[in-house]
């Protein structure tokens, strides 16, 4: 990959990359066959990284593991594109999904090995998981959460404390699954409106 992500964002605007489809970027990279693809590699990396990170967070529930996934999947994608191993550029999403799944399976195998090692040598591996830098105004979230109706606040806390599905929250609170989904959706909309400052109340 050439250049930085920050530099890529600027070039993205300068050179009109935003309007270019992923498939076109993939075709340019494949056509360059490892040579200069005119910034297409950097632009594709810029796009894929946050998407793969989300996928990783959803399946691994760990920021560091998700960051590892991004690195591996993005590199593998570029290598395979340069080698011309993607036949249909329009199917880039499925292609990346396949790699995400493969890498995650491999990471889980490694994790199991690591857990076995930890059982044997518990003090040798640091386990700290530092908090991500907050981007939201958390004081504002606190204020908005406080003025939500009680039922909505309960559903949001039970949902997001450890990312539990509606079925589990419903069992906890004596509600129906459908009811939890409705309350959750309404509560999130109300909270986001409040946090974004569209009106003083939640």
């Amino acid at each position: 990959m050439k250049g930085t992500v920050h530099g890529a964002a600027r070039r993205s605007v300068d050179e009109g990359w935003d309007a270019m489809a992923d498939a076109e970027l993939a075709r340019r990279i494949a056509a360059a066959r490892g040579g200069d693809a005119g910034g297409a590699e950097t632009e594709l990396c810029r796009r894929l990284a946050p998407r793969v990170r989300l996928y990783g967070l959803r399946h691994l529930r760990d920021r560091h593991a998700a960051a590892d996934l991004v690195q591996q999947v993005v590199l593998m994608t570029l290598e395979r594109l340069r080698d011309g191993r993607l036949r249909e550029a329009e199917r880039l999403g499925s292609f990346v999904l396949g790699m995400c799944r493969m890498v995650i399976m491999d990471m889980r195998r490694t994790q199991r090995r690591r857990e076995r090692l930890l059982e044997t040598f518990p003090d040798d591996v640091p386990s700290a998981d530092p908090a991500a830098a907050p981007r939201l105004d958390h004081a504002r979230v606190e204020d908005c959460l406080r003025i939500l109706p009680e039922r909505e606040r309960s559903v949001l806390v039970l949902t997001f404390y450890d990312d539990r599905p509606a079925r589990d929250v419903a069992t906890d609170l004596g509600l129906t699954e459908g009811n939890v989904r409705v309350i959750r959706h309404r509560a999130l909309q109300r909270l986001r409106r409040c946090v974004e400052g569209a009106g003083g109340d939640a």
Binding site: P50, L57, C100, R151, L158, F160, P165, L188
Partner: protein, 189 residues
């Protein structure tokens, strides 16, 4: 798909359902493929996840009160959170405090809730207006309502007495029970 546009944006409720593991099979596959192709939908989901993370942080810091459930509280304790729990019989009194290393304090308000369709909790605090929590979630079979007060506020308060009142707020409103908390600020032994 381009960097900024999405021709077939996914509904936020569906994005969240995927995040919480509620989609399976073909629906999950389809959504995952879409998310790996679409920066616009990925960004919207990131926004939702960010709000969820903030909610979690808020609760973990004791910066919000909430009505919970006994099983949720058990999971918190099992995960290592230091939870101070008080079980208060209907119309009973409890001596309570909050230690510096407690992460959360929880009151189990015991009550017969059979037949109750809507429940309000009124919090009566000296020097403050009564606070009425309307239509709180509860499981009538549980025989209790689990309330976590605002831990940070409690930590900063001195000795005081507060009361909570459970009210059947259905067609024929009635007081179900009252619970007294004699709170002592933490004193080193």
């Amino acid at each position: 798909m381009t960097s900024v546009q999405c021709a077939t944006p996914i509904d936020s409720a569906v994005l969240l359902a995927w995040w919480l593991g509620e989609l399976d099979g073909a629906a999950a596959d389809e959504l995952e493929t879409h998310l790996l192709e679409c920066s616009a939908c990925a960004r919207r989901l990131e926004g939702i996840v960010e709000v969820g993370t903030a909610i979690k942080g808020c609760f973990a810091r004791g910066a919000t009160a909430a009505v919970l459930s006994a099983s949720f509280v058990s999971r918190l304790a099992a995960a290592g959170m230091r939870v101070r729990e008080y079980r208060v019989p209907c119309n009973g009194t409890v001596q309570c405090t909050l230690a510096p290393d407690d992460d959360l304090t929880v009151a189990h308000l015991q009550a017969a809730l059979g037949g109750v369709e809507r429940l309000d909790v009124v919090h009566l605090r000296p020097g403050h207006a009564d606070e009425r929590l309307e239509d709180v979630p509860f499981d009538p079979r549980a025989g209790e309502v689990v309330v976590a007060p605002h831990t940070q506020a409690l930590r900063n308060s001195g000795d005081h007495i507060t009361r909570m009142r459970l009210i059947d707020a259905g067609a024929s409103p009635r007081v179900i029970g009252e619970y007294e908390f004699v709170h002592s600020a933490w004193r080193q032994a």
